[in-house]
Symmetry: C2
Subunit: 221 residues, 2 copies
DNA sequence: TTCCTATAAACTGTATACAATATTTTTTAT
DNA sequence: ATAAAAAATATTGTATACAGTTTATAGGAA
C-alpha cells in the first residue's frame, strides 16, 4: 500500500470509529509530525477526505471532522434505502455457499464485537458487511458508492446515534443471509429496506443543534 | 468561484466535451503555465479529477485522461439505469409549471445545439438535463452522484460512442417532460429506463481495443 | 471583573527547490 | 544500418520557505 493510502486509511478509520469526533480540528502540522511526512502529504489526504465529506476544509481555517447536517444524514440513509435493496437481484446471481459462509463468519464476528462492547470494531464490521455485500453484486461503481455511504453512515451515527444505535444497526444480519441462501429475492429486498429504515429512525434528527439552541423556549415555561 | 474550482471546471469541461481525448497526457508544467499558477495548484485539481475517475495518475508518470474500460462503461450506465428512474416519484413531489418551463427551455436548447452540430454544447446540455432533473428530487447526495455519472457518461461516449450517439442520447427529452406534467410516474420511470438502456446499447462495447488487436483473426479469411 | 485592543503565536495557502524517476536523444559497437 | 548502451532532457514526488490569515494571549481602561 502506498504511503498516502496508509495515512488516508488511518485517519478515515479514526473518524469512522469515533476516535476523532465530529468537529475535531485536524492541524496539518500535528498530523505530518504524527505520520512522519511533510505537510504536503497530509494535505493531499485531507483534500481527499474533504471531497468524500468526511472532513470540511474552510479557507485559511483548515480541516475539521465533518458534523453532518440533518439533511445530509437523512439523504445518506435515503440513498442507501433506495439502492441497496435494488442490488439484491444481481447479488443473487453470484451467491453461493462460499459467499454465504464468508458473510456468516463476518456476522458472527459482529455479534462477538458487540457483545464484548468493542465499539470501534463493531462499527467497522457493520459497515463492512453492507459494502462487501454490495460488492458481490458485481457493479464496482455502485459498490464503491455504497462503501462511501456506509462510512458516512458511521460518521452520522457518531453525531445522531443513540447509545444502542450500533447494536440496532446489527439487527441480525444472519436473517438476511438465510433469505439469500433460499434465493428469496423479494423478501430479502424488503428485509434490507426495513433494516435501513430502522437505522434511520433510530437517529435523533430533531433539529436541536448545539450551536442553535432556542434558550427563550428552553427556559420559558 | 475559487481559483482551484475554476481550473477544475476548465479541465473537466475539456475532457467531457472531448477536447482532451481519452489517453491525452496532462503534464503539470504545461497546465500550470496555461493557468498562470504553480504546479501545486494544478496537482490538487488533477488529484481530484483522478478520484472522480476522469484522469488516471500513475506513479512517476503523471496524469492522463482516463480511457474507461468496457466494464466501467457498462457499470456507469447500469448505475444510472438503476437510480435515475427511482428518483422520479420524489421528483414529482416538487414538479410544477416553473420547473416544467425551465426544462423545456433546456430541451429546446439541446435540439438547437444538435441541429447546429455544436458537439461540445450538445454533450454539455444533455448531461445537464439529466443531473438537473436528479437535483429536483431533493436528495443532494444522490443528485451529486448522478451528476458525476452523467459526466463520466460523456467521457464514455468519447471512447465508445458511435457518431450519432450524442444525438441518440437526446432522444427527445420533451417526451419525458410531457409525462412528468401529467404526473404519470410509472410511465415516466419506464421512459427513463428505456432511454438510458438505449444509450447503453448504442455504445460499441465489443472488446476490440486498440492495443489488443487480434491480427491473426483480422487478416486470415 | 469585564470588555476592548494590541501583540504574539499558530496555522494555512502558494511557490519554489531539489532529488528521484521516466523518457528521449545521442553515441558506440557489431 | 541496426541495436544496445550511455548521456541528456523532461517530468514527477516530496520537502521546505515565506507570506497572509486566523486564533490565542496579554495588557489596559471603564
Amino acid at each position: 500500500m502506498s504511503n498516502d493510502e496508509h495515512i488516508y486509511q488511518q485517519i478515515l478509520k479514526a473518524i469512522v470509529e469515533h476516535q476523532l469526533p465530529p468537529g475535531a480540528r485536524l492541524p496539518e502540522d500535528r498530523l505530518s509530525e504524527a505520520f512522519g511526512v511533510s505537510r504536503t502529504g497530509v494535505r493531499k489526504v485531507l483534500q481527499r477526505l474533504a471531497l468524500e465529506h468526511f472532513v470540511i476544509i474552510e479557507k485559511n481555517k483548515g480541516a475539521h471532522v465533518n458534523r453532518p447536517s440533518e439533511a445530509e444524514a437523512s439523504e445518506v440513509l435515503d440513498s442507501r434505502i433506495l439502492i441497496e435493496p435494488q442490488l439484491i437481484p444481481a447479488l443473487l446471481n453470484h451467491w453461493d455457499l462460499t459467499q454465504s459462509k464468508r458473510f456468516r463468519s463476518m456476522a458472527k464476528e459482529e455479534k462477538q464485537a458487540e457483545a464484548a462492547n468493542q465499539l470501534a470494531k463493531s462499527i467497522q464490521l457493520t459497515a463492512r458487511f453492507h459494502y462487501e455485500l454490495a460488492n458481490v453484486s458485481g457493479n464496482q461503481v455502485l459498490a464503491r458508492f455504497i462503501e462511501q455511504l456506509c462510512y458516512r453512515s458511521s460518521l452520522i451515527l457518531a453525531a445522531y446515534g443513540t447509545r444502542g444505535s450500533v447494536g440496532c444497526e446489527c439487527g441480525d444480519h444472519t436473517q438476511l443471509l438465510d433469505l439469500l441462501d433460499e434465493k428469496k429475492s423479494d423478501q430479502a429486498q424488503d428485509w434490507m429496506r426495513h433494516h435501513l429504515q430502522h437505522i434511520k429512525s433510530s437517529l435523533i434528527l430533531d433539529s436541536t443543534t448545539d450551536d442553535n439552541i432556542d434558550f427563550q423556549q428552553l427556559f420559558t415555561h
